[in-house]
Amino acid sequence: MLMLYVVTAFLYIALLFYLLFGGADFGAGIIELFTDDSKKERSRLLTYKAIGPIWEANHMWLIIAIVILFVGFPAIYTTLSIYLHIPLSLMLVGIIARGTAFIFRHYDPVIGNLQKVYNLIYVYSSFLTPFFLGNIAGTVISGRINPNASTFPEAYLYPWSGYFPVVVGLFTVCICGFLAAVFLIGEAEDDDDRRLFRNKAIRLNLLTVIAGGLVFLAAYVEEMALMTELLSNTVSLISLLLASISLPILWVQVKSLRYKSARALAAFQVTMILFALFYSIYPSFVIMEDSVLTLEGAAAGSSTLTALGIALLVGSAFILPALFYLIYSFQKKRFDQDTDIANMVAEEQGKIDL
């Protein structure tokens, strides 16, 4: 039983970290989509430098979450796989397109038309992937999945195509963009760039707040039980209030370019929102039309949970120090930054112009 909690905790943490780290990563692409052409190349280089070393690791959280689901909570994994086949496939297309385009554009030594193709694929898939991620999350809690549905549209299209799932998708995109902008303020190397990302951070924060409001509106319009549950649960309500109260503080920090506290606050807000949501529906995980899937109800047997829990604990004992050292090395330990930039410039110039 203890292991059920361990595994559940890992599941929530993996999902949160994917939203925070993977999200900031997607956000970098979203920002590129809304950057003037004149500044695109610079923003691209900066992004590459900032997220290059850790971007592979950022996406591993999704793998961890999915493995926990199919090993530990097979009923949840299979239900979502069946009824959300289409948005899951679209998200996968986004993941594969984005990951490969990001690497290909850096490792293609020829600057030619293909670069434009990579960039296009990269920015649009940076938008689509978190959209479908949010869309799926929205569907999971919306009560729109109906296992008794008899027609194709009812079973496979209706669940994820309502106002609520779509708005949650947009909300997720905004969160990603906002996280990235706040993150990149601290990565910028000159004041111009810092101001650029500061302005984007403020604008994206406003968009996020608006999109968040739309989520509530959509939930209200669709008469979802989620609303009452969220607002009647004291802990969830307090978390949401904390997230809101910290907003003005965040604006001040962003305005004055105090990027460390801004980063912490942005991460705090996203964590609070996710926590409020998970907490209000706990121990349910999937809310369907006339039933729910609870974590305990969907869990595998105790021998599997024990093995999975131990594997996760042992695994994190290896992963977390290594990951921490990776982030630390490339964030703080820029003892040789000049060489690094020189190498990078040399590498860029080394490309052949067609």
Partner: protein, 441 residues
């Protein structure tokens, strides 16, 4: 195409694509680490250049392998939810460990690719080695999970329910070791010969520089040794499969009739309706010896297996023949090359030998794909051998045909782009003195 065939084809396509990138992604880091080691020891600049060049290849293959692996972890559920509902908790142990290995690999590759000049050279070298070690561990763990589908253990199957699940027993199933050994060696052979072949082509084009010479030597040494060991591993596998999955070995050998002193059938086209093999060479007693180590042993034929549990014979047999033929050619080339190196024969640098290597470039991967077909198609109609039929594991969602075409399009375009990128990277290597990352002096 009906949905069932579409689902199976999509899975086959996804795995067939992933397997190539996974193999290269887990073996090339070792080549890279050897070259890096030689650079750190001998300070010859061409080793540094080679290390950087190979590390770019590793980055491209790693990311393609990683995203296609991510897709697979979803596709298992998208296509086979009923299978995953029951199998997930049982064979999930290797996957949960693989998650860790994969994560560590992603961290290690971050350190390695961006670590030039930022860390102590030997720490930097160590992170490169870790990319290979964790990649290899991932590969072995995933193969162990596949082994469970061939040799399901770690549970009691009572009235259609999976009870008393023991994830550790499931991970260490009877097939995990033989399969993992065979796959790991295959990855070394395929990647070694492919890399050697590419550098042989470059040497033949008159780019007679020490970089390509060293590259060929590093890749082929590992590839040749693995190619020589592979038949031994194959023999262990064959005996193991003969014991556990008689239907699979019967399909591999197109062995229709149970008999003692069973012949080994080389080549030939099986005729499943008339239960004969046309145009084949038969070695009397060969199959009995291969399967049971005794020329007179009885080998169970397809006639002892219910008709509805027959794997497709034609595909399995042909794939097995292709795999063995490719493996033999690579083994003999490997022996020849090692002999030439040992006795310092001139032919290892000759044009005909380089031409031979060039032609052998794709052969190892053809063998890998063929071997994968043998093990997967040879298991049909089962998804969990003897327990659950593949058809019963499938998603209820109709229209999988469209999904199949979508994935086909994605994989074809990715293959095209990766090939193009590699060609460009290789051209770039010789075109100019690229400024390279280095360690501060």
């Amino acid at each position: 195409m009906d949905d069932f065939i579409a689902a199976r084809s999509q899975m086959a396509l996804s795995l067939g694509f992933h397997i190539i990138f996974a193999c290269i992604g887990m073996i090339m880091p070792f080549f890279m680490a050897i070259s890096h080691y030689l650079y750190l020891k001998k300070k010859n600049d061409h080793y540094r250049k080679l290390t950087v060049a190979w590390s770019k290849g590793v980055a491209i293959f790693f990311v393609t392998g990683a995203v296609s692996g991510t897709m697979l972890s979803f596709e298992l559920g998208l296509l086979w939810p009923e299978f995953m509902l029951h199998a997930g908790p049982i064979f999930g142990m290797p996957f949960s460990l693989e998650g860790t290995a994969f994560f560590l690999e992603a961290i290690a590759i971050g350190f390695f690719l961006y670590g030039w000049g930022k860390f102590h050279p030997w720490f930097h070298w160590f992170t490169g080695v870790m990319v290979g070690v964790t990649g290899l561990a991932s590969g072995i763990l995933v193969v162990a999970a596949n082994g469970w589908m061939n040799a399901p253990t770690g549970f009691d199957y009572v009235d259609g329910k999976f009870l008393n699940v023991d994830p550790m027993a499931a991970m260490f199933n009877d097939a995990w070791f033989t399969q993992a050994l065979h796959m790991t060696l295959a990855a070394f052979v395929a990647t070694g010969f492919a890399v050697a072949g590419i550098h042989a082509i470059l040497l033949m084009r008159g780019k007679n520089n020490p970089l390509h010479r060293s590259a060929l030597k590093i890749a082929l040494s590992l590839g040749a040794v693995a190619a020589i060991l592979q038949p031994l591993s194959g023999d262990i596998s064959a005996k193991d499969v003969a014991q556990r999955q008689p239907a699979k070995i019967a399909a591999m050998e197109a062995h229709f009739h149970t008999e003692s002193f069973a012949p080994l059938i080389l080549g030939g086209i099986p005729d499943e309706d008339n239960k004969i093999v046309n145009y084949a060479i038969k070695i009397p007693g060969g199959l009995s010896f291969l399967a049971h180590g005794d020329f007179n042993a009885e080998v169970i034929g397809l006639d002892r297996i219910p008709e509805d549990e027959h794997p497709p014979v034609l595909i399995t047999h042909l794939a097995f023949q292709i795999m063995v033929a490719c493996g033999m050619i690579l083994m003999m080339t490997g022996i020849l090359w090692l002999f030439g190196q040992w006795r310092k024969k001139a032919f290892v640098d000759s044009r005909w030998f380089l031409t031979l290597l060039a032609f052998l470039t794709p052969l190892g991967f053809i063998a890998v794909e063929a071997g994968w077909v043998v093990t997967e198609v040879g298991r049909q109609p089962w998804i969990i051998y003897g327990i659950m039929k593949t058809r019963d594991g499938m998603t209820p969602m109709p229209g999988i045909v469209y999904s199949f075409w979508l994935y086909t399009f994605i994989y074809l375009s990715l293959s095209g782009i990766v090939t193009l990128l590699l060609i460009r990277q290789i051209r770039d290597l010789d075109k100019k003195e690229t400024p390279l990352p280095t360690y501060p002096r």
